[in-house]
Amino acid sequence: MTELHKSGAAVGEVVDASPAPTAFLEVRDLKVHFPTDDGVVKSVDGLNFQLERGRTLGIVGESGSGKSVTSLGIMGLHTAGQYGKRRARISGEIWLDGTELLSADPDHVRKLRGREMAMIFQDPLSALHPYYTIGHQIVEAYRVHHDVDKKTARRRAVEMLDRVGIPQPDKRVDSYPHEFSGGMRQRAMIAMSLVNNPELLIADEPTTALDVTVQAQILDLIRDLQKEFGSAVIIITHDLGVVAELADDILVMYGGRCVERGPAEKVFYEPRHPYTWGLLGSMPRLDREQTDRLIPVKGSPPSLINLPSGCAFNPRCPYADVPKDNVTRTVRPELQEVGGRHWAACHMTQEQRERIWTEEIAPKL
């Protein structure tokens, strides 16, 4: 029966059009544009990536680079259809376990949301409903997808609260969000998102609002849970420390596009895009000897309505004049493979970038 459900008419057409990928999650040429009075905000403009079960992808970038918009796009939260017209213009393909989500029936996506894919939000206080107890909210999330009575669901909620490390879960299940501390709320939200054993977990800045000691607890929890449930995890953050802790692969976003993507090791030790260099140079690091000065990226992030022509990073790039013929200001660079499973979008040649990194950047970090 469920099989029948999955291949609804709307889904079938697209499956024929382009072959279903083998990866668990595949995003192809995702574009999310918001029409506004001032122009079209191109929050995400052509993003591709893949993710397997049991692996963690870290998406890094500054505010406004399109990280959160991407995650909301995957969850299908931009296309809330009941308001008549779509607020966001979305194109591209998002394949989750063989199903294309963007063209799928909204009811079908709704069934997947929460069960196959779940999300942890940045601010647990605004993501939890203040009028209902934590238990109520977890029970609701469970019963939407499972036909069980309230008692069973409640047992499941207590079990999940216990699993995420909330003390006295059988009592705290009846607490309201305001009775929890920030770290406990975040744990409760993780419990809620994992209650249906989702295969894809998206964590959007899960620790940004938390203190460093609590952050360590939560990162540890996410790592343990992933190991236990074998889910695919996307972690979105601006903190390179957090991605280094969790991610197998890293995707660096700038101005709505991916500028560099590769295994964590490569991105940290052999970054091939000047923006990634800038991010690494901007961070004071506890694990290194004290440096006198940080090496910031000059200028500020671009407007997504009027992206600079050519490479979006060119006005801030110290090496914009290295490639010949002003190409950085006229031609938008595409992602090129710079090593095994490692891509970067830059006009400089491989050799130039390698030289600049090893001779000019790396020694200063």
């Binding site: 893949q50 360590a216 190991k227 506890l286």
Partner: protein, 394 residues
Amino acid sequence: MNQKSTGTQGAAAGDVLLKVNGLQKHFPIRKGMLQRQVGAVKAVDGIDFEVRSGETLGVVGESGCGKSTMGRLITRLLEPTAGTVEFEGRDITHLGVSGMRPMRRDVQMIFQDPYSSLNPRHTIGTIVGAPFRLQGVTPEGGIKKEVQRLLEVVGLNPEHYNRYPHEFSGGQRQRIGIARALALSPKLVIADEPVSALDVSIQAQVVNLLDDLQDELGLTYVIIAHDLSVVRHVSDRIAVMYLGKIVELADRSSLYRAPMHPYTKALLSAVPIPDPRRRSAKSERILLKGDVPSPIAPPSGCRFHTRCWKATRICTTQEPPLIELKPGQRVACHHPENAEDQAPQDTQLLSAAREAIELVPVGRDEAPAGQGAAAAEPATGSEGAAAEGTASGE
């Protein structure tokens, strides 16, 4: 003792500029129709420190430890409950508004949120020029010229004099706040989380700017922040606060190399290190359990004893004093790390202490494989295959 304030070059580098003694701030909790006081939030509960001219004191701690309240007390934006604040040898603890006004020239503040700390209805010329008007100072060449000079100093275009705050980005707004703080060439600048609202790349710009201004203008900073790596980068000395108390006060290298207070140690080990290779290294992380207790009823004795893995009986009853255990390193702990035990007779660990922390190996690949569900996915065996799969097709 009474140092005459003679312009900006008043105190020589190294002199004590600010001295804080037993500073307390208790916010009353009132209840009922008669608004009787039923308790108090002990936000700052007896702290002592000094700031020397020309140095940067960093203050770190988790949210709720009282670091921002401390900043507001020494700038006299809040009235202390007890204790004294001395600036250049002069007691300013209970000066009134008019008494404080001349001091305001010397003590300025940079706020965390560049969106709410600038009046949206004023142009930046008005905002940065406000200190001159309030203090009745007319700089050489007029206010406008001086404001434009200040804008240039902080890296903004002086022609933007007539623009409004909304026309600027977060980093630029923070620069406006800095220009305003610098207008009257203060001696002491208190910066409360000056970069935490900014993006990483912008953070670095502002940190460098603060650095340069200190070199050029001989400023003294008290920088309050929760980010330990930023604090290490900017500070000469660092105070670590926990529940309204300073638990450790030391120069930068001692604190980061050999922290003595267990809390400092835990705090440092919790910082995620941007180095994926560290994950498989054999380092261990101290994971504190639970949350910070409420400052309404802080634990007896040492406030950290409820979460400390070294806590013994003495910790529950006697509050450890902040004493100098090594030149330049003051610690309030009965059983410090990297130093001689202060209460060696008391060795019986509290039962809570044994469960207080979890030492986790940093690196998930360390743990024994095949534990439950993890094995269900192609995690270990077909690592290569999974890796290949993750690579995207063009």
